[in-house]
């Protein structure tokens, strides 16, 4: 356990090193936040209460998306490139030799990364958004706590998905294509482009059942007070269920993959 805490702290520190990059990222998130917020305002001007959100909730949704984009790695940006590179070059053999669980090792590092991105790239855009627009943010600490729990579960689901995608490199060698498809699904089905409640009919129902809704739609709904009481329990159960299923699938694929590893001498 101590080992994984150290790995997580390492993941946090590693991203904390890039201060200019973080500032530049905050700038980008803020620019996109403004563009999206204005587009949403135009949309909600025509149709107030669209998708069950009022105008200020809709704009809040935009800024939460910008705040969680890096935390839940909706467009990637986590460990997956590195893992693929290690698989491609064969360095993965060294990782397998370590007295640590491969999946937990990468998960710990990714949790550290997510924690940094939440603080480094999440807080400031949300604050700037709150300064420029009328956001529907709760005043009491309890909804925030519920939100952070949903975000944590969302990060685990996101990790499990990206881990599965990265392992495909054992078979494909070049995992860039699979990663890109994964990121696209993340972007589309997380609610990052548009709240999933605006997706029509069957597409909307499907989107809300897929694991990616854990990344933004559920945390945002929790913060906006759309999920309370049993609804909140149901949301957590949904996220936990996907996390468990996807982590288990990653484990299966990992053991199948490591049986394939042939260490080239040198």
């Amino acid at each position: 356990m101590r080992l994984y805490a150290v790995v997580a702290a390492g993941g946090f520190r590693r991203y904390a090193t890039y201060r200019v990059a973080t500032a530049a990222g905050v700038f980008t998130n803020t620019v996109f936040g403004f563009i999206m917020a204005y587009a949403y305002i135009a949309l909600w001007d025509e149709r107030p209460q669209l998708g069950g959100y009022d105008l200020s909730q809709a704009v809040t949704f935009v800024w939460l998306g910008q705040a969680l984009l890096m935390t839940c790695a909706m467009m990637g940006g986590g460990f997956e490139d590195e893992l693929i590179e290690r698989i491609r070059t064969g360095d993965i053999a060294i990782d397998l030799y370590r007295p640590a669980d491969l999946q937990l090792w990468w998960l710990a590092g990714d949790l550290g990364r997510a924690a940094f991105h939440l603080l480094g790239r999440g807080v400031v855009p949300l604050l700037l958004g709150a300064l420029a627009f009328d956001l529907a943010l709760p005043a009491s600490p309890l909804p925030w706590l519920a939100f952070l729990t949903a975000v944590l579960l969302g990060v685990v689901v996101s990790f499990a998905l990206r881990y599965l995608a990265a392992l495909s490199a054992f078979w494909l060698m070049d995992g860039a294509g699979v990663l890109q498809v994964t990121w696209l699904a993340g972007l589309f089905f997380s609610g990052m482009l548009l709240p999933l409640t605006l997706f029509p009919g069957a597409l909307g129902e499907l989107a809300r059942l897929l694991p990616w809704s854990s990344l933004l739609q559920i945390p945002a709904d929790v913060l906006l007070g759309k999920r309370t009481g049993w609804g909140l329990v149901h949301a957590y159960a949904f996220q936990l269920g996907w996390a468990a299923a996807l982590l288990a699938a990653g484990r299966l694929l990992q053991s199948a993959a490591t049986r394939r590893v042939v260490v080239q001498g040198g």
């Binding site: 990059a21 530049a24 699979v178 696209l184 482009l193």
Partner: protein, 283 residues
């Protein structure tokens, strides 16, 4: 060939330009061959590129599933803005999209390798990792533009018809200038590639919507500070016969080539200034 005493500089410029284009072509061809080594992966990334850029339009379609107009504009009108911005940005991205890697090259010292090669550095950086998959974005932009031109009811004049291709090419040049200026900025702020992305990708997203969506100050900023409004807003609103933002004069619809030339000149100057300040990491 002996240099004519009177005009040495234009000839020298022409020579640099020609060798730059040649280097660009050679490097781009090399990267295309390398990409084709993993054909399955290339097919997937090209498709993903097409899909990723289509998502923006899917969002607009999803919006129009709920409303008839957005900030006073109908779907075909927004499609014209979207298609023109997307195509112009796609062209610039294909040619110059690798410029955002400059910061990394400065950090890890690999820029030094480019400096000692007998080819212009700008051409080498721009062609680095030349990605044919970016054709996906151009394809998608052109498809939406085609839909817009079919769906719109425009009283075409020769002038209006000429504005459309002019808008795409000038727009691409303006975006390309932003790419180069952004890269020049990275000589100073080495890991600030995202600032550049917010102007390029962010600018593209912004221009997909009509100016009536945005606050006046934002529109002023992208007209007078970073002249993105000249990429498509001003020429496209002329084609559509729509009122201009900020009550600008209508003849501005024909100025994008001039604005593009000025932007490229400024970006080129910024690039040369950046390159002069470059100090190797020594590693």
């Amino acid at each position: 060939m002996p240099r004519t005493a009177g005009h040495p500089r234009p000839a020298a410029h022409l020579h640099t330009l020609r060798s730059g284009l040649r280097a660009y072509g050679l490097i781009a061809a090399m990267w295309m061959r390398s990409t084709m080594t993993y054909r399955a992966s290339f097919a997937m990334t090209a498709l993903a590129n097409l899909a990723a850029t289509s998502f923006d339009f899917v969002v607009i379609l999803l919006m129009f599933a709920h409303v008839d107009t957005l900030a006073g504009y109908g779907l075909p009108e927004i499609a014209l803005l979207y298609g023109s911005a997307g195509t112009a940005f796609g062209l610039a991205d294909l040619a110059m999209g690798s410029m955002d890697r400059l910061g990394r090259r400065v950090r890890d010292g690999t820029l030094d390798t480019l400096l000692v090669r007998p080819a212009p550095v700008l051409a080498q950086v721009a062609a680095d990792r030349f990605a044919l998959r970016r054709l996906g974005r151009i394809t998608q932009g052109l498809l939406v533009l085609g839909y817009a031109l079919l769906a719109l009811d425009i009283a075409w004049t020769p002038l209006k018809a000429a504005v459309v291709p002019m808008m795409l090419l000038s727009g691409a040049a303006i975006f390309a200038a932003v790419f180069v200026a952004g890269a020049a900025f990275q000589f100073v702020a080495q890991d600030a590639a995202e600032v550049q992305n917010s102007l390029t990708y962010g600018g593209n997203t912004l221009l997909q919507y009509p100016p009536t969506v945005f606050a006046k100050d934002l529109v002023r900023g992208v007209t007078f500070v970073v002249p993105l409004a000249f990429v498509n807003w001003l020429p496209a609103l002329y084609v559509l016969g729509r009122p201009y933002p900020l009550d600008l004069p209508r003849w501005l619809a024909f100025t994008p080539p001039l604005v593009a030339a000025a932007c490229c000149a400024l970006a080129g100057a910024a690039w040369r200034a950046g390159l002069r300040t470059y100090r190797s990491t020594g590693s």
